[in-house]
Structures are given as C-alpha cells and as structure tokens.
C-alpha cells in the first residue's frame, strides 16, 4: 500500500456560470521515504492539487471524480472530523508564505505548543521542550529565543524554518511543501533545500514538493510529475526527466531554464503561446498541441494516450512510443 495514492482525480471550479476544469484525471503515488516533485507553470493545476492534499479547497471547487488515499484511507469520503484527525499525523503542509502559517498575535513558542494538541499525554512543558529541540533541528541557532518571538520578528528564512519545524512536530507521514523556497533568497533557498533533504533521511515520512522551479526539483526530488493544463503530462525519476525528457512540454520547459543553458545565450528560448484555457468545454486534443513544435494533426483532435515508458515512468503524448 502506497503512502499517498491519487487516482483519476478530476476537479472543477465554478464561478459566474463558467466552469473551469482545473484537474483532469490526475494519478500519482508516493511511497514512504520518497521526495516527489510536482512541477508546472501557473495555471497547470499544481496549486489546486496542493489544496486537495491539504484539504483546503475553496468553496467553489468540486471534485467530480477520483480518490485521494493516504495509507488506504480515502480523504474525500472521510467526514470532516476524520480528515482532521488525519491532518497532522497524516499530512502536514509547508506554504510558500510562512507568515500565513502562523497567527501574528501569538508567539512562535505558544503556537508550536498548540500545534501538538494530538499528543494528549504530554505536558505543556514537554511540548515546549519538543518544540525547542525541533527548532534546533531545523537550524535555528537560538531556539529558546525564537520560541519567545512573534512571527513578524523573524526573517523570511527563519519563519520558513519555523514553519517546517511546526509541520514536523506533527510527525507527519507526508509533508506537502507548496513553493517552499519561492519567497526566499538563493542563499536561504539552498539552506532550506539542504534541510529538507536531511529531513528525508532522518524522518521516515515522504515529501511532496510543489514548485515551478526546475532547480528545486533537480536539487532534491527523487521522482517528478510534470503538470500542464490540469494533467500530469509526464512522470518519472528525476534523472530521466532531466536528461531524457519524453514529452515535448517537459523538453521545452527544461530548455527554457536559464540555469540549464551553458555560456551566454544571445536570445533565451521561450515557449510561444500561452497555457490553455481550461473552461468547459475543454478541447478534445492534447492541451499542449497549440504550442507544441512537434504536433501532429491528430494531436489537435484526439486526446493523447498515456504511454508507459518504464516502471513509474510515463508520458501523455501521441508522439512518444514505448
């Protein structure tokens, strides 16, 4: 049984008579101890997927199909109370803006203690000690002082560390990190990535990282899912995805990354066109076909097949052959 199993998940947003298909038949599995990346650009559906995993969907979202199972328990059919019990020991979240994770009027220490409400047999002093130890573990140099601070008194990097500590205090089996380093400087980004990588070895849980940054994927992920137009267009081990991408979108995305281009480019490559509008009715063909340099006539009219390229490696494309 996988730690996380998402099967054929489809989700729509409805607003003022417009229905947007934000996720279309998304399937993925995460095994214990893995770091899985979900990479995509804005509008790809990656943030929606994060919201599903975290149980924080907006009111106008509707799941039309599929299941999200954590160790076999379906999150979607679970009543709210059961879901709450699962959040915490099951899933913990690290957000892009760690300011959102904390209440601005309470000290970090108070909140880190309160986060441990599921540990019924520990005293507040024990919980505070546990919080202090966890802050030290995520690299905060003076954890006792940090406990007394208010969220706004910490720098962005420190807040993100504290947010990771808060998530780890729940001893989650799955840590979902949504753009965890986007708001940080490169030097702090490198430190946070290093921290996450270390946590993976020290804690048994799995990490799902949602990002638009291929550098983050390259530094830390074991496997990658590339999202485009609400679908997973390619999945595979990070090395294969980087060195032998199968889907034209993945190829284009990697080609665009300035870090992947050696020397000095006279002109930077781009992907012409725009992400597809996902308003219903969504066109039948491949979502990437209008921007795809290798599109065939059938790409525009027929939905692309999921071509299995190996164990846990597949691409959603007419042109790919196994």
């Amino acid at each position: 049984m996988s730690l996380l199993e998402v099967t054929d998940l489809s989700l729509t947003y409805a607003s003022d008579g417009v229905v947007v298909e934000a996720l279309r038949d998304v399937s993925l599995t995460v095994e214990a101890g893995e770091v899985v990346g979900i990479v995509g650009e804005s509008g790809s559906g990656k943030s929606t997927l994060a919201a599903v995993l975290n149980g924080l969907l907006p009111d106008n979202a509707r799941i039309t199909k599929g299941a999200v199972r954590i160790e076999g328990t379906d999150l979607l059919t679970l009543p709210e109370a059961g879901r709450r019990r699962l959040r915490g020991p099951g899933v913990a979240m690290v957000l892009q803006d760690p300011m959102q994770a904390f209440n601005p009027v309470l000290t970090i220490g108070r909140q880190l203690v309160d986060f441990q409400h599921h540990l019924k047999d520990l005293s507040r002093a024990d919980k505070a000690a546990r919080a202090e130890a966890m802050l030290a573990e995520v690299g905060i140099s003076d954890p006792a002082a940090c406990l007394r601070r208010f969220p706004h008194e910490l720098s962005g990097g420190m807040r993100q560390r504290a947010a990771i500590a808060a998530a780890l205090l729940l001893t989650p089996r799955l840590l979902v990190a949504d753009e965890p380093t986007t708001a940080l400087d490169v030097t702090m980004e490198a430190q946070i990535l290093h921290l996450l990588r270390r946590l993976r070895t020290d804690h048994a849980g799995a990490i799902v990282i949602i990002t638009h940054h291929l550098g983050v994927v390259g530094e830390i992920c074991d496997r990658v899912h590339v999202m485009y137009g609400g679908q997973i267009v390619e999945e595979g081990p990070v090395d294969d995805i980087h060195h032998a991408p199968a889907h034209p979108y993945t190829q284009a995305l990697i080609a665009c990354d300035p870090a992947a281009i050696p020397g000095r480019a006279a002109r930077l490559p781009t992907i012409p066109g725009r992400p597809p509008p996902l308003r219903r009715p969504v066109p039948k063909g491949c979502a990437f076909a209008p921007r795809c340099p290798a599109a065939l006539p059938q790409c525009r009219t027929e939905a692309p097949p999921r071509v299995v390229l190996g164990p846990r490696r597949s691409a959603l494309c007419h042109r790919v052959s196994p």
Binding site: V186, M188, G218, H243
Partner: protein
C-alpha cells in the same frame, strides 16, 4: 564618453521609523562607485537586505543621496534641471509590475501616462502603437491592471517605460513571479530594446542564472557595500569575493547529477543596525581570518575592469570555484 549614469562614492542614509523631530538615520549604502554606459547592461546582485533596491531608487531619483555624487549624463542629480531631465530620460520597471500600474487606469491610458504628464502629443492610436512595440494586441488598451496576466502586466510596464524614449532603464527583478517560459520573452525584449535604442540598462536581480545571459557587467552588493564588480563572464567564472562564490554555488542546479552536499553559504545577512566590525561578510565567510574581523577590506582593482573588496581576493581567483566551497 560620459557614462549615462555614474555614481561616485555614493552613500544613502534612511530615517529609522519612529522619532518625530530628531530622527535617527540608518546608513544603508556607502562607498558605491559605479557607471553604466550607453547600450550596456549592469546587473546589481545580492540578497534582500543588500541595498540593491535602495540604490535603484536613488538612481531613478526617488531617494536623495546622503554623500557622494550621482550623475546622469555628466550632470549631478542634486541639480533640479538634471532631475527634471531624468524624469523624461530615465524610467524604472518595478518588481511588482501589476502593482506599479494605477488600479483604476486602463492599460491604454497607463502607457501614455508619461506623454500626458509631460504634455507630449498623443492620440487614440498612440497607445495601440506602443502596445504593439512590446508585443501586445491593441485591444489590450481597454483592459485594467487586475485583468492582466503577470507577463502582460510586465509588458505594459515596459511599454510605459519606453514612452519617452529613455536613455536609462532601471529594472528591479524584471522576471519576478513570471513562469520560466515567459521570463525569456521579457529578457529578450529588453535585450532588443537595449541593442536597438542604445538603452543603458540597470538590472537588479538575485537570479545569477538569468544575469549570466543578459548582463555585460555585474556589481555584487553585500550589506550596503560593493564587494565585487567586473565583466559578468569573468566574475561568474572566477569570482574574487567569497560572497560571490557563495551566491554562485547556492544557485539550485536543475541537473540532479550535479547535486551538492552542502549549502554554499550558511546563516543570514546581518541586520544593518548591527553591522559587524571589519568585513561585513566575515560572519558567514568560510575563509574568514582574524584580519577580516578587525580590518574592513576596501574595494580594490584586481585586473582591468575588475574590483573586489576582500583581503584574499587574489587567492580566491586562483582556484576553480567549486573547490573553494568547503
């Protein structure tokens, strides 16, 4: 040839918040000497807190300098006539492009705003032509800022910046918040404009991977001091300052085969209020010696066009960069 923009020993102090009559001043930048020529791109890089945005704001005349001279086309910016000239001949691209557009002004009116301010001739077609220059359809003129995508807002702000044919463009993180596939479009657009209009471009960024492709020269700021300047390719190939080395090494690499085991620089940029004695970077520098904590290094020439503020700059450049990171 006189530089389009020159800074000579510039210092900037800003008032600390609080205090009514006698406000305490905090030194943000000092000893900044730089210049940008016609058709040249200078990249200002550094972490947040390094003072790069403050410097950009001073360059565009939003902040006065506290010491030293900032010159635009050979005239000091303290001269009101020169400041007036700067208003029409220099433009800024803000980091938050959408936020730099007035929320209740349509795109069409936003791009001709500089013409309206300076009472230059304009008609209904002007906005459409200006939008076309940056690759936007003329119909976009009817939109409002909140109806634009990130890339579109960025293009609109570029169109507005070009309205008066500026000689200098200061771009603060011009690709912040953009998707990778759109970043290139904006950078290519800026490169074209620079080449065709002879723009002098000051590019503020912390993204070295991007800076490598688009800038001619690079100036690295740390805690309000210049720590290294020089031609981009040379600085990135053989950085002379340990901070520059750390920034390069911290860039996440998309290739999983090139993963590093250590974060390049640990810790955080110190607070400006508690500026350390000696070298500002000593607290995070893997090579720091006693001398670094006692004696402040000055920016000194290393090679033609290259300067660094490190006591051990010569030893730094003599080693390949990856090995200098412990």
């Amino acid at each position: 040839m006189t530089a389009v923009l020159g800074a000579r020993d510039v210092a900037i102090d800003l008032p600390l918040p609080g205090g009514f009559l006698a406000r305490r001043q905090l030194n943000i930048l000092s000893g900044i000497t730089l210049s940008v020529d016609k058709g040249e791109t200078l990249a200002l890089v550094g972490e947040s807190g390094s003072g790069k945005t403050t410097l950009a704001r001073a360059m565009i005349g939003l902040l006065p300098v506290s010491a030293g001279v900032l010159e635009f086309r050979g005239q000091p910016l303290s001269d009101p006539a020169c400041r007036r000239r700067l208003r029409t001949e220099a433009a800024m691209l803000f980091q938050d492009a959408r936020g730099s557009l007035s929320p209740r002004v349509s795109v069409g009116n936003a791009v001709i705003e500089p013409l309206a301010i300076h009472r230059r001739p304009r008609d209904r077609a002007t906005a459409g032509r200006m939008l076309a220059k940056v690759g936007l359809a003329p119909e976009m003129a009817a939109r409002f800022p909140h109806e634009l995508s990130g890339g579109q807002a960025r293009r609109v702000s570029v169109a507005r910046a070009l309205a008066l044919d500026p000689a200098l463009l200061v771009a603060d993180e011009p690709t912040a918040g953009l998707d990778v596939s759109v970043q290139g479009e904006i950078l290519n657009l800026l490169a074209d404009l620079r080449r065709d209009l002879g723009l002098a471009l000051v590019l503020i960024s912390h993204n070295l991977a991007m800076v490598r492709h688009v800038s001619d020269r690079i100036a690295v700021l740390y805690l309000g001091r210049l720590v290294e300047t020089g031609p981009t390719d040379q600085v990135l190939a053989r950085p002379a300052h340990p901070y520059t080395q750390g920034l390069i090494a911290a860039e996440p690499n998309p290739d999983p085969r090139k993963r590093r085991d250590h974060p390049a620089i640990t810790g955080e940029i110190p607070s400006l209020i508690a500026r350390p004695r000696g070298c500002g970077f000593a607290s995070r520098c893997p090579f720091a010696q006693d001398r670094c904590r006692a004696e402040t290094p000055t920016l000194r020439p290393l090679a033609p066009g290259r300067e660094a503020a490190c006591h051990f700059a010569e030893t730094m450049t003599s080693q390949p960069i990856r090995e200098t990171i412990p």
